[in-house]
């Protein structure tokens, strides 16, 4: 896993406050790594941000640092948690303009070849990386469509990986689930275009995150991007898209 797919494009980055101001953003896996970096950055840019994470103590730590963040405890890989999460998100934000499905599961740790992968590990990777984003997006689709009707340019970002494209040995559970998520994103983007909802899949590149440490414990961390750098790049991409979409709206945001 190496190549960065997202490049920061500073020349096109608009004033962040004008784009993110009052946008209602949901980020899953929001207490560590890329998710946390995006949550803090979006909050600083004026967005109303709610994060979803499994560990309530981690949520409370983050909310202590950034009190305006909303935190919802729940596990997106669990079917029974999806509506409780959704209702708490809507209770916090009222609606949703941007959903970032960032929470990911690696599969078996340490990484092993597919032949040594337990079925349960593959299932968990699919539940977290594919079914979770599918279910949460579906539960929030009414809110995203409402956002579109109000000219707020809704979008869903699914965090992908170059393992979704390239078949890396030992990354079978993760790679297969991310490949499925990538494909799902592209199909859903076409299907929802009439409703004015964009669905993207972006690869943030190799980052120095807890997930990467699990996967490659002996990695040379100096070669890895910081989550903050990746967050900046990913958000710059979204920002450019939002500026373009907002400008294409005949009616201004309310």
């Amino acid at each position: 896993m190496a190549k960065h797919k997202v490049e920061a494009s500073e020349k096109t980055a608009a004033d962040p406050t004008s784009v993110w101001n009052d946008r209602r953003v949901v980020i899953t896996g929001g207490t560590s790594g890329l998710g946390k970096a995006m949550a803090v950055s979006l909050h600083d840019s004026g967005a109303k941000v709610a994060i979803v994470a499994r560990n309530r103590a981690h949520i409370e730590d983050l909310v202590r640092e950034t009190p305006a963040l909303h935190g919802v405890a729940g596990d997106v890989s669990s079917k029974g948690d999806i509506y409780p999460i959704t209702i708490q998100l809507l209770g916090a934000l009222g609606g949703v303009d941007v959903l970032i499905n960032n929470a990911s599961a690696l599969g078996p740790v340490p990484l092993v070849p597919l032949a040594d992968t337990n079925c349960e590990d593959l299932e968990l990777a699919l539940q977290t990386n594919l079914l979770g984003p599918f279910r949460l997006t579906k539960a929030l689709l009414g809110s995203l469509a409402a956002s579109a009707r109000e000219g707020r340019s809704p979008l869903v970002l699914n965090i992908s990986s170059d393992a979704a494209i390239n078949p890396y040995p030992k990354w079978g559970a993760y790679g297969a689930s991310k490949a499925a998520l990538h494909h799902l994103s592209q199909i859903w983007d076409q299907e929802l275009s009439l409703q004015g909802i964009r669905v993207l899949s972006l690869d943030p590149g190799d980052m120095d995150t807890p997930l990467h440490t699990l996967a490659v414990p002996d990695a040379d961390r100096s070669t890895l991007k910081s989550p903050a750098t990746s967050a900046r790049e990913v958000l710059a991409t979204l920002q450019n898209l939002l500026v373009t979409t907002d400008n294409a709206q005949p009616e201004a945001r309310q």
Partner: protein, 404 residues
């Protein structure tokens, strides 16, 4: 009519009866619903998401087991969750029809309730021993967390399988506003919405706090619908304006949409965006200013939903429709079959606005007035004259081409 007992939102065999402006009655498979729409029409649905509003717990002063069903709040703002109006039942569960449910213990102002992790107290009774205003403890975040952890969707005696939250959410569900599902919108899925858009039909929403459909007490049922907050998005007012300019119809999906739109329109005929409180009871005397047609579930005579239909069509047509529904074994209630009415040219009178009362200015449930009449379901049904139902039906040319 027979009750629909299986919680499937779009059963493949669902039926639809359509009544056009001339009073002609036609039957369709409900999946043909988009064929009733014309390019230029504006379809407006209620996008309220349904809160799991049934909370079991303990009435602390007596130790009695109770079921609290949240019925309303005064605003749609997500953080406005400290105060809810609620119906309280005694011990028992949904398998007992609401009219046979035990009464709650005597509820007094100040009484504490323990509902899972939630703590609430009775602020006051709202003119009825089982209708109360509750005040919940904690931040709005804690209250929502308590509701999702402990709350279940309000269940129905006629649906034996317990409803899950996703059974009660429509495809378009967004804002947390309803306590029972705005079930007319069950007909909508994304394929249908895409088809409508492709055919030049416009789609918009209102958010209306659809409330409780049955309280278990005829006196309380006669007060339904309670005052309900709604919100009309700017985009919907533009769509309605566009329909007026094009000569397209405004078609409401569900009675709650009729209620919100007809409340939000000024005497100048202009629909106003923003949040408001629907206090009016739409009936035969109501002059509809916005809605040209309504798509709805089937309703039994005497219910407020049924009375609302009188604003669209004459009593005679309504009675004809009832006979048709019986003859064709239509199913009723949330997961049942559907009706589609175009507005006839009825000489409507004034909108009957009610004023809120009870518990200061909270604007929650209102009073008993039903245009001076009180209905009991059974008596009303008996009052139908069978001889009036003998009209012969013919296909209207506008509809007959849609018959499969």
């Amino acid at each position: 009519m027979i009750a629909a007992t299986v919680p499937v939102q779009r059963p493949p065999d669902a039926k639809l009866v359509a009544i056009d402006a001339a009073g002609q009655i036609t039957h369709f498979p409900r999946s043909n619903f988009p064929n009733l729409l014309r390019a230029g029409d504006v379809v407006i649905a209620n996008d309220a998401a349904t809160v799991p509003a049934s909370l079991f717990g303990i009435h602390i002063r007596t130790g009695a087991t109770i079921e609290v069903r949240l019925a309303g709040r005064r605003s749609l703002e997500p953080e406005a969750v400290r105060h809810f109006s609620a119906i309280v039942f005694g011990e028992g569960n949904y398998r007992t029809p609401t009219e046979h449910r035990q009464s709650p213990p005597e509820l007094r102002p100040g009484d504490g309730l323990r509902l899972g992790s939630l703590r609430a107290s009775v602020v006051c009774l709202l003119d009825h021993p089982r209708l109360v205003l509750l005040s919940f403890e904690g931040s709005s975040e804690e209250i929502w967390r308590g509701i999702v952890r402990h709350g279940r969707p309000i269940q129905y005696a006629h649906v034996p399988v317990p409803l899950e939250i996703w059974d009660t959410w429509t495809a378009i569900a967004g804002p947390l506003a309803a306590y029972e599902p705005p079930s007319a919108s069950f007909i909508l899925n994304w394929s249908t919405l895409d088809l409508m858009i492709r055919r030049g039909v416009y789609f918009g929403t209102v958010t209306h706090a659809a409330g409780i459909s049955s309280t278990g007490d005829p006196k309380l049922d006669a007060r339904l619908p309670f005052d309900e907050p709604y919100r009309i998005p700017q985009s919907t007012t533009r769509l309605v304006q566009g329909a007026r300019e094009r000569g397209g119809r405004v078609i409401a999906i569900g009675t709650t949409v009729v209620r919100a739109l007809e409340q939000a329109v000024g005497t100048d005929g202009v629909l106003r965006a923003g949040e408001g409180l629907a206090t009016q009871r739409i009936s035969r005397e109501t002059r509809l200013r916005i809605v040209d047609a309504v798509f709805s579930g089937t309703h039994e005579p005497g219910t407020s939903h049924y009375e609302l239909l009188r604003a669209f069509v004459s009593n005679e047509v309504l009675e004809n429709m009832n006979k048709e529904l019986e003859e064709h074994s239509y199913r009723t209630h949330e997961f049942g079959d559907s009706i589609f009415f175009e507005r006839m040219n009825l000489a409507g009178a004034n909108v009957n606005s009610k004023k809120s009362e009870g518990c200061g200015t909270l604007g929650l449930p209102t009073q008993f007035a039903n245009n001076g009449r009180k209905y009991r379901r059974s008596t009303l049904r008996k009052s139908l004259n069978p001889r009036q139902l003998s009209t012969i039906f013919s296909f209207d040319s506008a509809y007959s081409r849609m018959v499969p």
